[in-house]
């Protein structure tokens, strides 16, 4: 209980995160992956990790990233650990973004979606290159990465609304309200620490 309070992770939130992650991975592999948009496939998994990290913080973001990555690798019978590594970084990074900057602009989900998608694809490609590629690599790969990130960015805004709606009832505090209170009371402002 003490630990749950310290990380801000209640049982309800944990259940919602787990359910959301599993549903997204299944919808991703069963439907979304089979419907190409502009010749590329929308990938919701890095988006769900990024948004959970953004809503719940770096620690939970990293743990969810690892778990979702492992689930993706197991479900799609891919090299274990690759997606976990990339998604852990994405979850942690978006969590830190919220903890340090707490951006409130309307475009924030869009930018987070773009960055998460690009990080996921570039990170994946880098690891695959490091592991060694037997087949010739086409320059089309760059176009696929750019197009993939673009398509994920478009999907990011409605998907952010869905993720937030799914998790909000169990979130310990709304970041927007928290920030407003922080600036009125000064109690939670990062500046007060110095």
């Amino acid at each position: 209980m003490q630990r749950g309070l310290a990380t801000g992770l209640s049982g309800g939130l944990l259940a919602r995160i787990a359910a959301l992650s599993v549903v997204v991975v299944f919808i991703q592999t069963g439907v979304v992956s089979e419907v190409p948009v502009f010749g590329v496939r929308v990938d919701l998994s890095p988006l769900v990790v990024a948004f959970i990290g953004f809503l719940c913080g770096a620690e939970i973001g990293a743990i969810v990233g690892f778990a979702v990555g492992l689930l993706v690798d197991l479900t799609l019978v891919q090299t274990l650990g690759v997606t976990s590594l990339v998604f852990t970084v994405i979850g942690y990074w978006t969590g830190r973004l919220r903890e340090l900057r707490d951006p409130q602009a309307a475009l924030t989900p869009l930018l987070i979606g773009a960055a998460a998608a690009a990080t996921s694809m570039i990170g994946y490609s880098l690891i695959e290159f490091l592991l060694g590629v037997d087949a010739p690599v086409s320059l089309e790969l760059l176009r696929q990465i750019v197009l993939g990130a673009l398509v994920d960015t478009i999907v990011a805004v409605p998907f952010w609304a869905l993720v937030r709606r799914a998790l909000q009832p169990s979130l310990p505090d709304d970041p927007r309200r928290r920030r407003r209170r922080a600036y009125t009371t000064g109690g939670l402002s990062p500046l007060s620490r110095s």
């Binding site: 089979e34 496939r41 197991l74 891919q78 650990g81 852990t88 590629v133 690599v137 790969l141 696929q144």
Partner: protein, 319 residues
Amino acid sequence: MYDKTVRRRRVVLTLLVVLSLILLTAYFGESSGGGLHSVQRGFLTVISPVQDGANKVLKPVRDLFGWVGDTLHAKSQRDELIKQNERLTKELIENQANNRAYRELLKLDNLDHELSISDYRQVNATVVGESPNIWYSTINIDKGESSGIHLNDPVINGEGVVGKVTQVAPDGAQVSLITDSNIAITVRINKTGVIGMLQPKVGDPNDLLVEYLPPKTSVNVGEYVETAGTVSIDGQDTSLYPPGIPVGQVTSVNLGSPYKSVNVHPRADLHNLDVVQVLTHTGNSTPAQVSSLTASLGTGGSRASGGAAQSLASAGGGG
């Protein structure tokens, strides 16, 4: 309190990254029969029925999106297909006459037992999952060992070659598509019969590369590429595609290397796979005999000739 939180956050991140790296290294280093691969197969066994159920529930949604896409492309496809149909009808009439003469000659020489699809047991399977990753062109199907599917069994659909089975669980299997970076198939150019090695081009799912064609080979854009019915002898990765299954059509010819290579557009619509057919075999069938022969040759220290295409399909079929 603040320091404690920061320390714990860093420890969690480091732990997860290290755990990922350990998993990656262990998985990459072990054989396909290793512990992590077994865990993955076990997970596939558990997940296959769930994926199958989810696939059935979500099929209307997928069909709706598919219908929108198909409608947008239907008109241009129709015009293209009308032209193609006219051309193919002419070719068919010409080829039927040639084929008749060819079959008669084969009979005369007692060579008419070439391996064909009819030698295989054909198992129809529904696609229940697909990878969104540009590095992994894989699909999951709802049939596995209980339906007689084995590792490395060829997978086709009505249009041509789709890929091969790379993981098998009792009620599910993973198929690596011909656009996956780990796949290579021996193919021949339909018109000239020249054999080459088909490989994907990572990052471009609509482009395949046929390499190692003799430099003086005459290949033209638009010619068809089909499986050669040969296997690669390396003891582990033997996948016996029967000859004559369409793979794709030549889109460009590349010069400038000691061997000629051609770019090929895959014939099967790999973005839109609903049902595939796995070509599997029973204990004493010809493909089973050829596969075991190839495997025994591979384990017999034939690594030196690893990758060299051997025409075993015809030999096995004749036995």
